[in-house]
């Protein structure tokens, strides 16, 4: 049968399944594949390779084609707040950033504002030692706002270039914990109305559609200026980033690709889209 003037439906369904499998989500996947149906270039004898190429371009239309990496320039100290739900890799990501900042010759201060979870401070202390960063901490059960207050003062008096604030994992559905986060931001703003200069929401690549709810509620509570997606060294594809870029305007800064200090990369849209189809 000639397919002149029509797109191969079976192939389109297969492509939709690849997207769904990658956690792009059923709605965004359908939208991307429907665009192919409307695309003149996709008709005729367009084979799988051609269609995948067009699909990738459709995804890049959503993700943007330029990297929008983290920059720590300008304000001193440059204050970065790191937030997200439990276990996504916030503390480890801070360790990686501290390593990078050391390589860039910037003095870094880590803030142990997770005063809740067992051994959270000890975990961050190890990263401070590994990367030569300073650390500000208080006793167990201290108020996170109070730790941040101390840190902002210390950063100024120690002339720190960059401050990285580690917060406790929290589910976005817990109103009191989201209020605690807002309070942390207020404390920081008291010291510098422009701070935090970057607020990173750390997402786990294995998380499915719930990442959308996380992004929405976290960015309603605090001024999220960047996304980090960790654990892309696993088999999860992190396609939810496409759905997130479609719904929100938050730049994707970094991807985590392992547990070591060097295991991160700037987010490069084209590499991400290529990896999704591998």
């Amino acid at each position: 049968i000639s397919l002149r003037g029509k797109v191969d439906e079976e192939l389109l369904n297969e492509l939709e399944e690849i997207l769904i499998q990658a956690d792009v989500g059923p709605d965004t996947s359908l939208k991307l594949v429907d665009a192919l149906r409307q695309n003149r270039e996709a008709r005729g004898e367009a084979g799988a390779e051609k269609l995948i190429g067009l699909l990738k371009e459709g995804m890049l239309d959503i993700l943007g084609r330029e990297s929008r990496p983290l920059a720590f320039d300008g304000p001193k100290p440059f204050v970065t707040l790191v937030v997200g739900v439990n276990g996504t890799g916030k503390t480890t990501t801070i360790g990686k950033l501290a390593q990078r900042l050391r390589q860039e010759g910037r003095s870094t201060m880590l803030v142990a504002a997770d005063t809740f979870r067992a051994a959270a401070v000890e975990q961050l202390e190890i990263w401070a030692r590994r990367t030569g960063a300073e650390i500000v901490k208080q006793g167990a059960g201290a108020d996170p706002g109070s730790v941040c207050f101390d840190a902002m003062q210390a950063a100024r008096s120690h002339h720190a270039d960059v401050v990285l604030i580690d917060t406790a994992g929290r589910l976005h559905t817990k109103v009191n914990l989201m209020e605690e986060l807002k309070k942390i931001v207020r404390v920081i703003q008291k010291h510098d109305p422009a701070a935090p200069h970057e607020t990173l929401l750390v997402l786990d690549a294995t998380t499915g559609q719930n990442a959308i709810s996380q992004a929405r509620i976290f960015s309603e509570a605090v001024p999220v200026t960047g996304l980090v997606m960790t654990k892309l060294d696993g088999t999860a594809k992190g396609g939810i980033l496409v759905a997130l870029s479609d719904q929100f305007e938050i730049p994707i800064r970094i991807i985590g690709i392992g547990e070591g200090a060097e295991d991160y990369r700037d987010f490069v849209p084209r590499d991400f889209v290529d990896a999704l189809f591998e």
Binding site: G87, T206, G234
Partner: protein, 292 residues
């Protein structure tokens, strides 16, 4: 919610005479969408929809005055059946040193769950001993000790210079000496595609000879849930699954995917960060959440 969408589908059909096969397929399209939005794996969704479609083509639905209700009832029952209609038996043995081995992907909640399980078993009269076999993550051993202190359960560790198998062997001897009858072994998070870490785990399981081997998985996992669960089961073998972070608003389709691909029961649910935030798994609750 799916219930409302199905009623919408069948309302449009009213006045067009009786329900036909085409109408059922349109309803199944809504079911498929709801399950995918709930993070059920797409292959599991396919099989599920096929099975429910066949059942929906029966007289009961086709001749019903409320077909939407029938279909949603079918879907709900099918979900509960798949999730494990009967509670899984968590029976420890008297007069031996029981061993529960916990593993899973990074950050899934294993260390926290170890504490919860220890408390749960202590309340039932067992004498648990936490065993710190995560020699990789910074401050993991310290974390387990603090967790243990929080539930009044001792933790055994040998620092980070011995491998998990050695640590567990020594822990068993220590348990006998101290009159502990249950070891709860916490391990490092690992990727199912990391050969070195999977070897470590297989070796540990051989040494530990567990009474129960649990995969600890995050309830908000998406399509990847089947990949990791299948690999862990195939390469190490699991007796059951514990699903953490069910206190969020994730629809929890991973429960269905993991259950389908491993055939193993879901024993427990983590429903918070505190030691008593542990529940026996409720299939009906998860089914309702999946259906929104």
């Amino acid at each position: 919610s799916l219930g409302q969408r199905l009623n919408g589908v069948f309302k449009r059909l009213r006045g067009h005479g009786k329900i036909t096969e085409t109408n059922i397929r349109e309803a199944m399209h809504e079911v498929r969408l709801a399950l995918l939005q709930a993070d059920v794996n797409f292959k599991v969704v396919k099989e599920f929809v096929q099975s429910v479609t066949e059942k929906s083509l029966g007289a009961e639905v086709l001749q019903s005055i409320s077909p939407g209700e029938h279909v949603i009832g079918l879907v709900h029952r099918e979900l509960i059946e798949l999730l494990g209609a009967r509670a899984a038996a968590f029976d420890l043995k008297q007069g031996v040193t029981n061993v529960i081995l916990l593993f899973g992907l990074q950050g899934s909640g294993k260390t926290t769950f170890a504490g919860k399980l220890a408390l749960h078993c202590a309340k039932k009269g067992w004498k648990p001993l936490l065993v710190a076999c995560d020699i990789h993550r910074p401050a993991a051993i310290r974390q387990l000790h603090v967790v243990g202190e929080g539930v009044g359960v001792p933790a055994f560790d040998l620092g980070t210079d011995h491998d998990p198998s050695e640590i567990t062997e020594r822990a068993k001897r220590h348990a006998v000496e101290q009159g502990r009858d249950l070891l709860i072994v916490d391990t490092a998070g690992r990727l199912h595609i990391d050969e070195v870490r999977m070897d470590e785990l297989r070796k540990l399981k051989r040494t530990a000879e567990p009474t129960f081997t649990f995969l600890v998985a995050d309830a908000m996992t998406g399509q990847d849930a089947v990949n990791s669960a299948a690999k862990f089961h195939e390469q190490v073998g699991i007796d059951g699954v514990c699903l953490t972070k069910q206190d969020g608003d994730a629809r929890g389709g991973a429960a269905l995917s993991i259950r389908k691909v491993t055939g193993k029961p879901i024993f427990f649910a983590g429903v918070g960060e505190k030691p008593d935030d542990l529940e026996v798994f409720h299939p009906d609750r998860v089914a309702s959440r999946i259906l929104g």
